[in-house]
């Protein structure tokens, strides 16, 4: 399952940027954080992304699992427990119909079930087409 996104707006700062991505399958607008250029020189980054461009993207949720539902947590449905992006292990999850990725390391100390609660404050861009964020490599 590939998720195609259209770049709606780029908010560029000196070293990082936020990008509004429209999921073309679900209509969800995600504001994602891109710090792919904030890594050692020599790694590929996502700087080639341009407004109105359409890309195959993977988005990581930046947060933690919760044992119970809280005001801040959402229910995620784990659809794959053995997804590897670069060299990093992820859960592939659904929130509604939208696909996201959560670090498997976040589940340390938790009993992994198909449906779990997770709270997050940021959505991180970790893959664009065939370019993977250096932190995943």
């Amino acid at each position: 399952m590939n998720s195609m996104y259209k770049v709606m707006k780029i908010y560029k700062a000196a070293r990082t940027r936020f990008i509004d991505l429209l999921n073309l399958d679900t209509g969800t607008l995600d504001k994602v954080f891109d710090d792919s250029s904030e890594v050692d020189v020599g790694y590929d980054d996502f700087e080639a992304m341009r407004e109105s461009g359409v890309y195959n993207c993977k988005i990581e949720l930046f947060g933690d699992f919760d044992r119970i539902k809280t005001e801040k947590s959402v229910e995620v449905t784990i659809i794959s427990s053995d997804t590897i992006i670069g060299k990093t292990e992820y859960f592939k999850v659904l929130i509604g119909s939208d696909v996201y990725y959560i670090l498997k390391a976040d589940a340390k100390g938790f009993e992994v079930k198909q449906k779990m609660y997770y709270h997050f404050t940021r959505k991180d861009l970790i893959q664009v087409d065939d370019v993977t964020h250096a932190d995943c490599l």
Binding site: A14, R15, T16, S37, D40, D135
Partner: protein, 147 residues
């Protein structure tokens, strides 16, 4: 984490430090000064371009590098950090970003490197990682929690 890293005390410390510009003490807590005069003097004498009125914090790393945080704007500095990452810091119990950054920079990073735009360093604090991007002159550009 030692008592000096308590967030409530830190928030008070920052406010007091900003008001007095000197080491202050209150409610039984030793509070810190984010802009020690000796480091402000060193910054002034270093020859780097900086906005003295906008300096929020200045410190020195274990290897002797002078680093400072300015109010900045939407692209760099404290405003940029707060606009983009206040919620990320809050989720880790950090409300006083300037004070936390100062204490972190006084530790040894777990990783350093150089991007196309300048150096970066990663730190591990209480098992959680943080990344700071800065100019070759020591000006802090970006700072945010990472996995």
């Amino acid at each position: 984490m030692d008592a000096g890293l308590r967030q409530d005390a830190d928030a008070n410390a920052t406010l007091l430090g900003q008001r007095t510009g000197e080491l202050a003490e209150g409610a039984g807590d030793i509070v810190e000064n984010l802009k020690p005069q000796n480091l402000m003097d060193e910054l002034a004498q270093s020859g780097v371009k900086y906005n003295q009125a906008g300096v929020k914090m200045v410190t020195k790393t274990p290897d002797g590098r002078l680093m400072w945080l300015e109010n900045g704007d939407s692209e760099s500095g404290l405003r940029h950090i707060v606009d983009g990452h206040a919620a990320d810091f809050a989720s880790r119990g950090i409300s006083d970003i300037s004070g936390f950054l100062k204490r972190m920079l006084q530790e040894t990073p777990v990783k350093t490197g150089a991007t196309k735009a300048g150096p970066f360093a990663e730190y591990l604090v209480d098992g959680k990682k943080y990344k700071v991007g800065y100019g070759a002159n020591g000006y802090i550009v970006s700072f945010y929690p990472i996995k």
